[in-house]
Symmetry: C2
């Protein structure tokens, strides 16, 4: 293969660094492993009609009131927000509950990053739950790709970068990579051994915070590859499964 003609692959480690990247005509993968993008992927695969990401709690409540058969959901600082019906756990959205419903979701990091991206060719939702689907999709697009880590209040986090590294490692041959963040993410993924992600993340800040809230099952679920092999795509204001 001739590297010159390959599209680029870059990793943005924090929303505070997003301005350094040109997202125009780029495929952007939004990554918020603990837990927004894992929740979106699980809810859609379990039959949700769509997910509408919103920036604020009042907006979430207002939109929920105006949409029939909707659920208001979200978290701030990893905790359920009073006034919303549900939290930000993929385990809260089994088929029997979520099927046919619209999820209106607001979170600390993931939904915020999604709204910051400008001019992208497409915005898709990545998580370990749909890892292979994401890799296959971006490898087949022949377009520049940015993997965008939602991080934690702009601070680098290990789990989003680990996922980015898993993607880089999988699709590296399809891209021209001249991005140290992508290289570091790939090294991180290789350090993990590529099998037990949860174990690798056990001393991470987010693991420690969320497990202190009793959310170990969430953490295990969110680090299980390919449980929900769907491709969530932003269309207008709605995230839907790509046809």
């Amino acid at each position: 293969m001739n590297n010159v003609t390959l599209p680029t692959l870059e990793v943005c480690l924090s929303p505070a660094l997003l301005h350094l990247y040109d997202t125009r005509n780029t495929v952007v993968v939004i990554i918020d492993i603990f837990r927004a993008t894992s929740t979106i992927v699980a809810a859609l695969d379990n039959g949700a009609k769509c997910v509408i990401p919103v920036a604020s709690v009042p907006e979430c409540i207002e939109l929920g009131n105006s949409i029939p058969n909707s659920i208001t959901a979200g978290e701030r600082d990893g905790k359920v927000v009073p006034g919303l019906q549900k939290g930000n756990s993929p385990l809260e959205y089994p088929k029997e509950y979520v099927q046919g419903k619209t999820l209106v979701l607001t979170t600390t990091n993931g939904t915020r990053l999604l709204h910051m991206v400008e001019g992208a060719d497409s915005i898709v939702i990545g998580s370990f739950l749909n890892l292979d689907v994401i890799c296959n999709f971006i490898a087949g697009q022949n377009k520049n790709v940015l993997l965008g880590c939602a991080s934690w209040k702009d601070r680098f986090n290990l789990e989003d970068t680990l996922f980015a590294g898993a993607v880089v490692n999988s699709v590296a041959n399809n891209f021209s990579i001249n991005c140290d963040s992508a290289r570091a993410a790939q090294h991180l993924y290789l350090s993990s051994g590529g099998t037990n992600f949860l174990n690798f993340l056990r001393n991470s800040s987010h693991y420690l915070r969320l497990s202190s809230y009793g959310l170990e099952r969430d953490l295990e679920y969110c680090t299980t590859p390919n449980l929900h092999p769907v491709l969530p795509l932003l269309k207008g204001r709605e995230i839907v499964i790509a046809k």
Copy 2:
């Protein structure tokens, strides 16, 4: 050891993330491996009286004119700046040239980060050339420490993070670490095998850029541990060897 009483150790991956960290009463290590902090360490160990970091080229020239026995030096985008006497290579400052002189230095990343830090207990200059000195110093201070990577125009880079990881790995037992950047940096260092840093960095953005300018010898020099075992410390506007 009781972790609760240990000071914290954090890593800031880019100047664009510096606002997320509290640098007050903290020991801050400035890291710009390719090449500002390597040059500062080499010049001081080779006998320079002091190094004065400045933000702009005009400021560099003006200050150089006003200080007897001084050298104006610097780079922009990795290249020597017209109007300055010397560049940003540690190899430009052998003992016979630099002894007793004041180096007035302006660079793209390293000197900029240094001026951004506010309220620190102390600011020291780190590079592979003085790796063990830095580790011994911060381990003995019993103060919170921030390792600040100068990066490349705010973009994460591999070499500064690799150095931060080498430090984290060396002093981890002396600190309480709850910082994913520090953990990732340590993983990166462990991935490198801890011996041939230059080889590990061969596909990094900065290596590719600087080697295209014919600076391979610089890159090799800057990744050699403990060639210049001194502790450069910011005192007022001057960087001097700590007594």
